[in-house]
Amino acid sequence: MTEFTPVSALVGGALIGLAATLLMALNGRIAGVSGIAGGLLSSGRGERAWRWLFLGGLLGGALLHELIRPETFALREGFPPLLLIGAGLLVGIGTRMGSGCTSGHGVCGIARLSPRSLVATAIFMATAVITLAVVRHAFGVM
């Protein structure tokens, strides 16, 4: 359904890797979005500004790309809002319980060969594949 785009995938991935390197080199922090965002809830004074700025940058970077090269793909239509809310809640709870997400565990953790991240990544990949198989092929939700 979506076409294989190896070059833009590698380039985009490299940019993400660069971002993670930068955050560690300059600030000494892991570029894990669930940790950075979720951490806001328990952060004190000196810890909040940089988190908001990182998130703002995330949005800004995507916006910049959108302005330079507007939507090159078709947006998904008709996805059930309740399912999306459920998805969000599970992602919010799961990433905090599991101490990371695709960027924290999947990119930074694997780059460091962290056993925790290797296990976590294998697990969330597995449950994601199974979940999609059920949602898409058993229930026909695209």
Partner: protein
Amino acid sequence: MSRHTGIDSSWGRNLAALAAGLLFGLGLAVSQMINPLKVLGFLDWFGAWDPSLAFVMLGAVVVSALGFRLVRRRGAPVFSPRFEWPTRRDIDAPLMLGAAIFGIGWGLGGYCPGPGFAAMALGFWEPFVFTAAMVGGFFAWHGIERTRLASLRRRAVDG
């Protein structure tokens, strides 16, 4: 002690965070990770499979691995007193259960935290609803943790 010690600068930290965020967001957009259908295309092992996400991970992991090796040669980050490398190596129940739950949510919606947030740049409704719900999830977990810690403290006091 390395010659290269950092300077404790909140201005530097903030600017660095913004720059890193911008690069990250750009990377997510260039690689189309903000498109849920692209992500689900990779997770769809029983349908039309799109390997692109694997290539995104490859690019990101290789560059990060190389970058982290270079970074480790310094004694400290530029704008902070020390590197905050994660130290835990144990594989416990919260890690595994949390990952499993996160995966279910990811497979359900096609969004994970970074792309879900960055996709708001596209202007359509999905990322906004997802992000709001995700923040709800963050708050829910925060509440669960606080209750758990409070009950642990109470038990310690009561003996």
